[in-house]
Structures are given as C-alpha cells and as structure tokens.
Symmetry: C2
Subunit: 349 residues, 2 copies
C-alpha cells in the first residue's frame, strides 16, 4: 500500500486546531508531500498552506485527498461526502485513518470502483501477512519502545529518520499506526492485524535492505500496558531491532487509561524490552532515552534529562526541544563499530 | 457463541485415524456430548461410537454436526457438501474449525440463513471485543504456559478441569483455540482476534465468578516463540492467572517450525511468564510443571520427571501418564490458604 503524492490535506470543519493534528503531522514531517489544504467555511484549523478547492487541487497535480481531521467521534462526517465525491471525480484517491471506513460508505465505494480510484482506510489492513519466520535480515533497524502508550515513540522515530536523511544516512521510517501511515504514505497498522500475524506483518514492512540502511520502525504501546502489550511484544520480535530507544513521559502517574496501573520504572522497562528484543536479535542494545518533557518547564526539563542521563549512562534528550542529533550520533557509532562483526564482539561495545 | 449439544461427529473420509483427532478429542473429554459418528464409505477412522446417518442422528436428537476431521490441506471438502446440506435440512447447526469457512460456501450459507440454522466457524471470531481493562475479577484462574507451542497446554487444561469436577470443585475450561472450542462448545480463538483485543477477548471469556470457582484457561504459544509470542503475552495479561503451570516437551531440540531458535530453559521461561503474569495479578505463582513425555520410555519419563521436580521444587507430572491429581492438589492448597488474603501474605506461601 503506497499512497500517491502530492496530497491535498482536508481539514474539513475542524472545530479547533488540535482536531487537525494528523494534517499538521503530515505537513510538519513531509511538507514536500503537501500541495495545499482544503478548509470548509467553519474550519477552525489552518496549516498556513495554500487554500485550494478540488478544481485548484487537480490543477496543482494532487494525487490524493487525505482526511487530516478527526471530528468528535472520529468518524467520516456526512458533511464531507460532497467534497470527497468531487475529489474522486477529479481523479484523486482518498485516504483516511478514522474509525469508520471510506470503503463502507456505499456512495464513495461505488464511485471509486467505477472510476478506478483507491480508497485507503489506513487503520484497517487489507493485505494478508505471513507468520513471522524470525530469520535475520540484512540492514539495520532502530525501534523506539515506551514505558507507556502515547509518550513520543512516533515523534522520536520521525525525528531520527529526518536527522539521518539530513546527514546522508540511508533511512526509512516504517509506519505501524494510522497517523504514521498517513504521514509517510505507507505502512501497516499493526494493532489491527490478526493476532497471529503481528510479528509477520512487522517483518514484511521492514524487509532485507542494504547493510548500511536503517529502518526506523514506529513503536507501539508498552510491554507494561495490560491492554496492548501483546502488540508491543510482537512488534519487538518482528522488528529484530539492533538499537532500541526508550521513550518516557516523566510526569505521568499511571498507564494511559488505567488508573490502577503505575508506570514502570525506566530500568524495569529497559530490562524487559531488551530481553524481548534479544530473542530475535541477540545484539540488541539501548542507545538512548527519549524524554517527552512537554509538561515540564525548560529548567525542570534540563534537570530531568540530566538525572536520567546520569542514572542510565545513556544520552537522554527531548526530541522536540533538542532534536535527536545525539541519538543519531549513538546510532552512527553503532553502525561504524558493529556492522559485520559477530554478535560476541558486538556485545562488548 | 455456544454450540448446541449433543453432537454428531463427522469423520468424513478421514484418510487415517490421526486425521480425525479433533473428533477424538471431543469424544475423549466429553463423551456425553457425542450422540454418534458419521463415517463416509472410505473413512479410515473409527471412534467406536454408534454409526449414524443424518436421519438417525435427527432421531437421536442431535443438535449440531461437528466436522471433526481435517483432510489434507485443512479445508472443507466438496465431497462433504451433500451430507452437510442434509444435516441443515434435518434441523442441525454445523460447526468446523478448518482453514476455510462454512460461511464462505454460498450453498451452505444460503441454506442455513433460509432455515435459521447456525454455521460455527470456530477458528474465526465473529464477536467484537472490548479493549482489556486490567481490572481484578472475582474467582480464580489457572493458566498453562509453555516453553514452546504444541507441548500439551490444552491437554493439561482439560485434564485439570476434569479432575476438579470429579472432586466437586467448581471449574470451567475456557477454550482459546479452535480444537478447544469444539471440545468444550464455546470460547474464542485468540490468535485470530484483532491484535488490540487479545487481552480484552481473554478477559471476556474468563469473567468474574464465584470466589471458589476456577477458570482453567487454555494456553497458547510461548513467550519464546518469535512468531506468536504477542498472542501469548496478551493471553497471560488477560487471564490474570492466580496459578500457572509450565508445560514442556523435553526432547524438542528447537522451537516448533523454527530450526534456528532453541527451546528456552525451563527456569528462563518460568521467570518470563511470572514477570508477565504479575503485571495483572501480583499474586501469580507457578504451582506445577506438566511434562509431555510421549517421546520417552516409561523409565526415561520417570527419570525426567524426578529430575525436573528436584530442580524446580514443584510437582512435575505427565498428565497423560499420571493424571493431574498432584497439580489439582497444589491448586486446592492455593485455594484454601490464599483466598481472600492480601497479596503480601500470599507471597509467602
């Protein structure tokens, strides 16, 4: 599944800027994919892109209208259908990551089929996947893992890819969730795959590659989240990561959505993730800690990062505040020293 | 999903007795569910049940024809369709756990719908499940976990349920795979659930119960199997087991299907399963080791069991050779001493 670019980002009738955060993410990480934005009259979001109607977007060569907004309820609104229909008629595909499917709206489905257009419901995988084989693949992989859900794993991965590409390092972000798929244009929502095929799906989206190529795999969930840990374990096994980055939000008092479950200690999470990762890649190492300090002042953030860095003897950064240069430094070091060496030697690094 | 009893076990054109092992399992564990067997002329399997055609089965009050045979390829054979059609017309439901679905065979689906009959494809869950909430439920739960797939977890669970019921202990086998579902008449194939809902599905099939009731949950896979470990972790978290039983096949040289992956050490597996189980039930304990000694002589088996028992200070039995009396003894002890006591005290037991 590869969504064709460039995109028209559909902001619809977003009731506030946050409702358009998917569109914002696409524009932040891949402005070169974004030809313009479509705002309905009552839209409260604005990405600062050129406003376009469907005819103007067609003129600008847009290939896909991406629904970059979530209304209350996270479903495709009836009010959008006319515009989506126009886009199909103008030759565009449609892409969305919402709870209901473009493909389940008969009007859109029939029209798309008759015109030969694609409807991408990126939350719902349509491919079938093989069972994971656990075989070592060429190329290198880095995976952010978290003490909890929603603590910065996607942001960290996208920032690492961007920094690597800026340094001329071969790198590909591998999306494992719907927002990541819309941002990058491909990937699989692994939490929506049939359970037997979690690791197999991840193996498939991180295939064998050049020895000096990095897959930067989007992390999901946490081994310590009782609702979703199975997804996380399958993802860790399938990714066969050479390098892990621990993602943490230091002010959180309990696991997301579960008030009776405390957030694990960083060391506990490191130990568990490393044990899991080493099943399929005995050379797996933690290279850094990525801390989401958005709830802290600048001074608190600096103190927090210094403490974590001292305690765990790993670079600790907030990717949003400081960038991921030091994480990529650590990964580059790992590449130079470890590539091609047998596991025993790498263990010593 | 509750499959109505009694059953007519359909052995079809089984090419050897092993091909009818699902039917054999149903008859072994629940002979009271089995009114008779249906054998086609070239059937090489025989369970020793009364042979019945569809008219005789109807006369005997059969509610469901269960396909208890797997032909080469594991699909529903064209040669069976006439008989399955007759069964629907005689008022029976159909149940199967094969790779293709009864519901995908237009002839059967149309007929079943028109007659108001049910087609149970137990490999494919049709319900939707909630995300797991991780909340403690009343009642007790025991879960077999394995060093590998296919090493005796279902057999161990069924034997524990049988022994508990024979002793007058309240117990329910909770099936998590297609064979277990056909044997017991209900359950969910957790490896076929959407990944986000593994733990939620397990929570749903092991609901709150009487304080002295045991759910005996069928185990799946292994935390050390790189293809399926996500399913196992979700199952462990959802089950919130008070008691774990480690299942092991001592002659296996590598993980099933993966020649480059060694079977983990028993202690390694115990440690990992216990850490996982204690996330959702801090009182989780291993109570026994269940050893599949089918590849050993009687003398070898006795030696193997004695060694394991001495090394791990837990009862070690082969459920097939010795029964699970000692496992149920350990569970009964856990009930008497631990029920209602706070976690701190239980930890000491």
């Amino acid at each position: 599944m590869e969504i064709q670019k460039p995109y028209l980002l559909f902001l619809g009738d977003a009731h506030d800027p946050l409702a358009a955060k998917v569109a914002q993410g696409i524009n932040q990480w891949h402005p070169e994919y974004c030809a313009g934005q479509y705002r309905m009259p009552d839209c409260a979001a604005d990405l600062g892109l050129t406003d376009m109607d469907i005819a103007q977007a067609k003129e600008a060569g847009v290939k896909t209208l991406v629904i970059g907004v979530a209304n209350r309820g996270g479903i495709i609104s009836d009010k959008w259908i006319d515009i989506l229909t126009q886009a199909l008629e103008a030759g565009m595909d449609l892409a969305a990551g919402l709870h209901n499917k473009l493909n389940d709206i008969a009007e859109l489905k029939t029209l798309a089929d008759s015109l030969g257009r694609n409807l991408f419901d990126v939350r719902f995988p349509t491919q079938s996947f093989p069972v994971a084989n656990g075989l070592k693949r060429s190329g290198k992989r880095v995976l952010p893992v978290g003490t909890d859900c929603s603590c910065g794993k996607m942001y960290t991965a996208l920032a690492i890819e961007q920094e690597m590409l800026a340094r001329g390092i071969k790198a590909s972000f591998r999306a494992t969730g719907q927002t990541g798929i819309l941002i990058s244009g491909s990937g699989v929502s692994v939490d929506a795959v049939v359970a037997d095929f979690i690791s197999g799906a991840v193996e498939q989206i991180t295939p064998a590659n050049d020895a000096d190529h990095w897959d930067v795999v989007e992390g999901q969930g946490s081994l310590f989240h009782p609702s979703f840990a199975g997804v996380t374990l399958g993802l860790i096994h399938g990714a066969q990561a050479d390098a892990l980055v621990l993602c943490h939000e230091p002010t959180r008092t309990h696991m997301r959505g579960l008030p009776t479950y405390p957030v694990p200690e960083i060391q506990t999470c490191i130990d568990a993730c490393l044990a899991a990762a080493r099943l399929t890649n005995p050379a797996a190492h933690f290279v850094a800690i990525s801390v989401n300090t958005s709830q802290l002042t600048k001074a608190q953030a600096q103190e927090c990062l210094a403490e974590i860095e001292a305690e765990f003897a790993l670079p600790a950064v907030d990717p949003f505040r400081q960038g991921v240069g030091r994480i990529v430094d650590a990964l580059a070091l790992l590449s130079e020293t470890a590539v091609g060496k047998p596991v025993k030697e790498r263990e010593k690094i």
